[in-house]
């Protein structure tokens, strides 16, 4: 892939989340507030993990950034432009890979190019992305023939081929077994280091949040608010066994009230 294009990506992708609130009407007619007053700025090229108890609205926040859901109040801006609906400059990967089962691996990865009408000029890149996620030899396979980890790689490649300014990951590794999960975390890190676009990862796995993120955003239980933003500084590199890593884990757990302070 061209280096110049990669650098261009790094300079864009600033996410500004301003006073986002979101409430739903429940079945009994009562209003449920999922998100309240979320303010967050994510710098271009940063990898931010969002963590919080289940039901805290972190997935809703991601869907709002993606433009799939309208907030009740507030605004999201990408590089200063307000988000009004879904668009290819914000790629999204769900926990369920949601591959199109009627398309092969190759066609799934290419679907973003087809959707944007740039397939003819960019189809040469498809093989680069297949290589990027290590799926050479599976180009012609259909999704039902893939393992969970492989399917999620396809979903990641499919989101990346449009060169989104922002990559939104909604518990992308949540359904994988522990071994595959750790391997995929390294894979994600490698891909991000290669491409340096802004990534927002929603997870409920503390280690994953620390291991992958430059920053960990900890959210409160419902209604979801930003409780604390913890910068992750691991000068000795990403090592799950290091003392600093251990310290950060304690810190996150403490904010999440799983550990007594002190």
């Amino acid at each position: 892939m061209a280096e110049r294009a990669d650098k261009m990506v790094t300079e864009t992708g600033r996410i500004e989340i301003r006073n986002i609130g979101c409430s739903f009407k429940k079945q009994d007619g009562l209003l449920m507030t999922a998100l309240k007053g979320i303010d967050l700025t994510i710098k271009p090229g940063n990898f931010v993990s969002v963590i919080g108890p289940s039901g805290c609205g972190k997935s809703t926040l991601l869907r709002i950034v993606a433009g799939l859901q309208k907030p009740t109040s507030g605004e999201v801006r990408i590089d200063g432009v307000p988000v009004s609906g879904p668009g290819y400059e914000r790629g999204l990967v769900f926990q369920d890979p949601t591959l199109f089962p009627w398309l092969t691996v190759q066609e799934n990865i290419a679907s973003g190019l087809v959707a944007r009408g740039v397939y003819k000029t960019k189809k040469k890149e498809i093989s680069d992305y297949i290589r990027l996620v290590g799926l050479e030899g599976f180009e012609k396979s259909y999704p039902h023939q893939l393992s969970g980890g492989m399917a999620q790689r396809v979903a990641i490649a499919r989101a990346l081929i449009n060169r989104p300014k922002v990559l939104l990951l909604d518990e992308p590794l949540g359904a994988l077994d522990a071994f595959t999960r750790i391997r995929m975390q390294d894979e994600l890190l490698r891909i991000w280091q290669e491409r340096r676009n802004t990534v927002v990862l929603v997870t409920h796995d503390v280690d994953e949040a620390i291991y992958l993120g430059d920053e960990v955003v900890v959210m409160t239980p419902r209604p979801g608010q930003v409780q604390k933003v913890i910068p992750i500084e691991l000068p000795d590199g990403k090592d799950r066994g290091s003392e600093k890593f251990h310290f950060l884990r304690e810190q996150v757990l403490e904010v999440l009230h799983f550990k007594e302070a002190g």
Partner: protein, 316 residues
Amino acid sequence: MKIDRRFRLAWPFLALMAVILVDRLMPDHGFSYGTKYWIPVLLGVSAFYAVLAASSLKKENLQARMVHRAPLLTVIFLVICLLDLLTAKTSVLPLPYFPAPGQIFDVIITDWKMLLKSAAYSLRMLGVGYLIGASVGLVTGVLTGWSKRCSYWLSPLQRFIGPIPATAWIPIAMTVFPTSFTASTFILALSVWFPVTVMTGSGIANTRRSYLEVAQTLGADKKYLIFRVAVPAALPNIFIGLFMGLGMSFVTLVTAEMLGVKAGLGWYIQWAEGWAEYRKVYASLVLMAVIFSTIITLLFKIRDKVLVWQKGLIKW
């Protein structure tokens, strides 16, 4: 000691011999239609089978397939022999209502021109009616499945008109349309349209939301969402509609031919019955079985091609 499975290859041949010997050696009971082509053809089939069986002794693949089919073939030939015994040989099942297998076979050959013409007429009407009905059904199905407004205006019509058996329209259609061919084609198309539009509509409307959402984050426009997400996602359903429509179209075709149209295999049955020519009735039935079964097989083949991506397809 286990008997060599290859001995099974001889069973169908022996059964064939039984058919021939019974037919030749036993005199027919009372009045009977003679047969001219039955025995020569059976002899031909026997010779062909013998050659095939002999050559399969050297080819593992062919042999396995033939050994697998041998019991079924044997039973088929024995049933033919039994039918011959019950009809021509003993008149337990009397003429003219129950002709012997050989007599039916002979009529297919002697009356081939008429049968071929009738089959061609039936196929023409089936082809035209099915294509029109299926195409219109696909269009209305996509419209009602995708657009709330289309569903609002079209669904009541669909729910009201659809369940009426299309053949009930025959008297009206025959007076409204200029020719019986156009009238029957319309009825046939109507009978195909209903299941196709219902299944297509529900398939499109039930497209998984997450497919549409993912496509939108990939930059899809409305055209892409409809034709490259919703329609492929609905394809398994669409094929169910196409199969149901095909079954309906057979019913409608034959009924229309028996009631109004002056051509086709359905008409041929009606006409033969008028002359108490039950051999011809059966001949027409045999032809229908062959033609309709081939068409269904064809649609299954098409589906298997189109839906390769689906796991666990129903086999035909």
